[in-house]
């Protein structure tokens, strides 16, 4: 029976090619626009480190004085950590692994004569950074806690920068000139680009920035290397802009906690630490303000998805809705036009249910065609998003679940759109119709 209805639907759609084309086009456009934006939102809210993210947390202390004035357009000053707090948390060693970090841009002065100096982004971090985030190494290894303590001038390069500087030769053990100082290359990581770059400063371009080098935070502070990101200070003295001062937040801090019990214990530790700081008079706010964010919770708190993307999604869904109303109207017109045909079938013994099924299959067929068209349009849409200047542009790709989701959404939308017209059509009074025609 199904094959027969499919055949009937096919014939009926071919009888009215323009109307059919209009409906397929409408559903294709609506689905295409919606899926483009849903895909963009999907990649923007994706887990940057699947499998590892559930064990990663970031502490949130609040060292700001009570009368601190938050800048209108700038991010929350308490989103970052001060140097003394970061060092205290490192020393306490209460988590499985922990690392403090900050971003920086340095001028690379290549030894090769054919390369001009160029700027690269990288990260100043402490030793646990690599193991905690599970960074894959291609050559050599990371530095140790002893290197941190010694403020060693060592550097780990990304594969891209390593190849650029050393070509195919081996660079391990050689020096690289970054800014005004030489650093010894001790390791090379595979290109590792979690999207979004969850551990970066709230002001960073989380979807397009890539770290090309990593060097010990202690060395960076020692050499006063330039840092990226938001530095918010509240000190009264001239040393308030000193990196190691207690009155300026600029560092990010991440910890690895393997079980919920550990996370709970760490949360308590943060509250105790804040209470202790408050007792010493350094913190002014309640110690219970101290929080521990999970990785996904932190991304939510940071609200990285641009408002424009959400607005565009709403717009696309509104557009899909307009298209669906349109299809309902057109299908209604189409089905009611066939009242006499339906009446004949009814008079010959077809039940309402049969008519309903037949018309439903016809709607679904339109949905399949519209879904295929929608896929094409969504690919064009994503292609155009990739050519846009936004920092997430490169990520706009459709994966398999999204692909199948598009088809499913198209079929569901058209079947839902077909429900009302089909119901209306199968309630035609056969006797009346047959008599008038």
């Amino acid at each position: 029976m199904f094959a027969y209805y499919l055949d009937l639907a096919w014939h009926s759609l071919r009888r009215n090619p323009i109307l059919t084309a209009l409906m397929v086009l409408a559903i294709g456009l609506g689905i295409g626009a919606s899926m483009t934006m849903i895909t963009v939102l999907h990649v923007l809210t994706d887990d940057p480190l699947p499998g590892r993210s559930s064990q990663l947390f970031t502490p949130h202390l609040d060292p700001l004085p009570l009368n601190y004035k938050q800048g209108g357009d700038s991010p929350d000053a308490a989103d970052n950590v001060t140097w003394p707090d970061a060092m205290a948390l490192l020393k306490a060693h209460r988590a499985e692994r922990q690392a403090a970090m900050a971003g920086g841009t340095l001028l690379v002065r290549p030894a090769r004569a054919d390369l001009r100096p160029f700027n690269v982004d990288g990260r100043y971090a402490t030793a646990d950074f690599f193991a905690m985030f599970g960074m894959p190494f291609e050559h050599g290894q990371s530095w140790s806690a002893a290197d941190d303590a010694a403020r060693a001038h060592v550097v780990v390069l990304s594969d891209t920068l390593y190849r650029k500087l050393f070509g195919n030769g081996s660079g391990i053990g050689q020096d690289v000139r970054l800014g005004e100082h030489d650093f010894r290359v001790i390791g090379v990581t595979a290109d590792w680009q979690p999207k979004p770059m969850f551990y970066a400063d709230p002001g960073a371009q989380h979807y397009s920035d890539v770290d090309q080098f990593f060097l010990p935070l202690s060395a960076a502070v020692d050499l006063k290397l330039s840092t990226n990101g938001n530095q918010s200070g509240w000190g009264k003295n001239d040393d308030s802009t000193s990196l190691t001062g207690a009155t300026m937040t600029w560092l990010q801090f991440w910890v690895q906690l393997n079980s919920p019990a550990q996370a709970q214990a760490y949360r308590q530790f943060l509250v105790d630490y804040s209470a202790q700081q408050k007792a010493q008079g350094r913190f002014e706010r309640p110690s219970t303000d101290a929080k521990l964010y999970s990785l996904m919770g932190w991304l939510k708190h940071e609200n990285l998805v641009p408002n424009d993307v959400r607005l565009q999604l709403w717009l696309a869904l509104g557009f899909l809705f307009v298209c669906m109303v349109n299809i309902v109207a057109l299908l209604l017109a189409k089905f009611l036009r066939r009242s006499s045909e339906i009446s004949v079938r009814r008079a010959l013994g077809a039940r309402r249910r049969d008519i309903f099924l037949q018309l439903g299959i016809e709607s679904a067929l339109i949905g399949v065609a519209g879904g295929v068209l929608g896929l094409v349009i969504a690919q064009i849409g994503l292609w155009s998003v990739r050519h846009r200047p936004d920092d997430y542009a490169q990520l706009a790709q459709m994966d398999m679940p999204m692909l199948l989701g598009t088809l499913a959404l198209a079929i569901i939308a058209s079947v839902v759109a077909g429900l009302l017209p089909a119901w209306r059509a199968c309630r035609v009074q056969p006797a009346l119709q047959l008599k008038t025609s």
């Binding site: 209009l22 009368n67 004035k69 357009d73 002065r109 408002n307 557009f319 307009v322 349109n326 017109a333």
Partner: protein, 406 residues
């Protein structure tokens, strides 16, 4: 034109009629808000900026030795002056819309400190000698800095220059001293203080505020002797010379500073890059609006065609008993007019509601009232245009159809 028969007939086709009304209402609501967003973005993109944008190019020099700045900068400026077509050269610490913002908070009382609650945040522009001219700052009151003020002002590792003079923009002056002259007033941030010697026309901050235009103009200018923070080499020239001059300047600075990175662009590039995602969003909104209106129009065409086909016999009868082609035509046009009318009334209410929702959740402004009637008129015209084809076909139905059995 009698409209009662139209209502009677619409009552018989209640579901399709409701669908058309609904579709037009949705289209109207989305259109209003989308056009409003487009307008807002176009306004943001064209934010006025009182410098000579059309003649300005810049080369950013990065990675020079800070200790040599005092000798390097005059040498670099002298070298740039030798490029043919360059009218003026100057150095600054940043540029409007460059996103390289150095902000600071000042108060109006002599004991104000940066972190006090009632301070106001401004952007700092440090100018080297001649930068005021190269930028094309427009003086409204007072004077520019004199040679001594440039020569005596140093940073020496601290955050703000040692000078005690400042230029402010008109908007900022008005905001800080609404009812007195700004000249001679001072701004304070312990231990620094600066006295206003001049007021210039509104220059945008390196990072425009998304919240208010007025705050986008909170710019202040300070003199500074050659210093490593002055990394923006500005070049002023005739607009058509800029591309050539940027390349020449980039090359020249690269040659005499082999260890540094020189990157040049015109001010148009800076503005273009700053607003790039905004303009791409505006284009995307335009596209959605056009496609949505097309879909709506096709929906009206499809449904009216169906009605015409269904009523062929009735139309024939009307024609046979004396209705002219014009009567039939105007019947369908009036019917569409009524349906669209109901649609836009509903749509305007919906558009208003959506605007309120967006205001609460997406920092959107209130939509001016005239967007509502404007989009209503647009949809009315669209409806009339879409119905014309099917209505003409209806008018062409010959009276003889009435006598034929189907």
């Amino acid at each position: 034109m009698e409209i009662r028969p139209i209502f009677a007939s619409l009552r018989k086709h209640r579901i399709p009629a409701i669908l058309i009304v609904l579709e037009i209402a949705l289209a109207c609501a989305v259109l209003c808000n989308a056009v409003f967003m487009i307008g807002k973005r176009i306004g943001d993109i064209q934010i006025p900026n009182a410098i000579d944008e059309r003649g300005l190019s810049v080369v950013v020099l990065n990675g020079t030795d800070p200790k040599l700045a005092a000798s390097d900068i005059p040498r670099n400026i002298a070298a740039l002056r030798t490029i043919a077509g360059v009218q003026s050269v100057g150095v600054t610490s940043t540029l409007p819309l460059s996103r390289n913002n150095w902000g600071w908070s000042f108060g109006l009382k002599s004991d104000s400190a940066m972190t006090d609650k009632n301070t106001f945040n401004v952007s700092l522009y440090f100018l080297g000698v001649g930068a005021d001219q190269t930028l094309g700052l427009q003086l409204k009151q007072g004077r520019f800095f004199n040679a001594d003020e440039y020569a005596d002002s140093t940073l020496g590792g601290s955050a703000l220059p040692s000078a005690h003079v400042v230029l402010v923009t008109e908007s900022l002056a008005h905001q800080l001293w609404p009812d007195k002259a700004a000249l001679g007033q001072s701004i304070y941030s312990k231990p620094y203080y600066y006295t206003v010697v001049g007021v210039v026309a509104d220059v945008v901050r390196p990072q425009a505020s998304i919240h208010s235009t007025q705050r986008s103009y909170a710019s202040t200018f300070y003199p500074l002797q050659p210093d490593a923070t002055l990394g923006y080499y500005l070049l002023r020239s005739a607009p058509h010379d800029r591309a050539r001059i940027v390349r020449a300047a980039e090359q020249k600075l690269g040659e005499i500073n082999p260890a540094a990175v020189a990157k040049g662009k015109t001010f148009d590039d800076i503005r273009g890059q700053y607003f790039a995602d905004m303009s791409s969003m505006a284009w995307m909104l335009v596209l959605v609006c056009v496609v949505m209106l097309a879909v709506t129009a096709f929906g009206i065409v499809g449904l009216t065609s169906f009605w015409v086909a269904q009523r062929r016999r009735q139309i024939g009868i009307r024609r046979a008993v004396g209705a002219s082609r014009g009567d039939i035509l105007s019947y369908f046009r009036t019917e569409n007019f009524l349906l669209t009318g109901m649609g836009v009334v509903l749509g305007m209410a919906l558009a208003f509601g959506i605007n309120i929702y967006l205001m609460h959740h997406y920092e959107m402004d209130r939509m001016p009232w005239y967007y509502l009637p404007a989009s209503a008129v647009a949809l009315w015209l669209l409806g009339q245009l879409a119905v014309l084809g099917p209505a003409l076909r209806a008018a062409a139905v010959p009276p003889v159809v009435a006598t034929r059995s189907v």
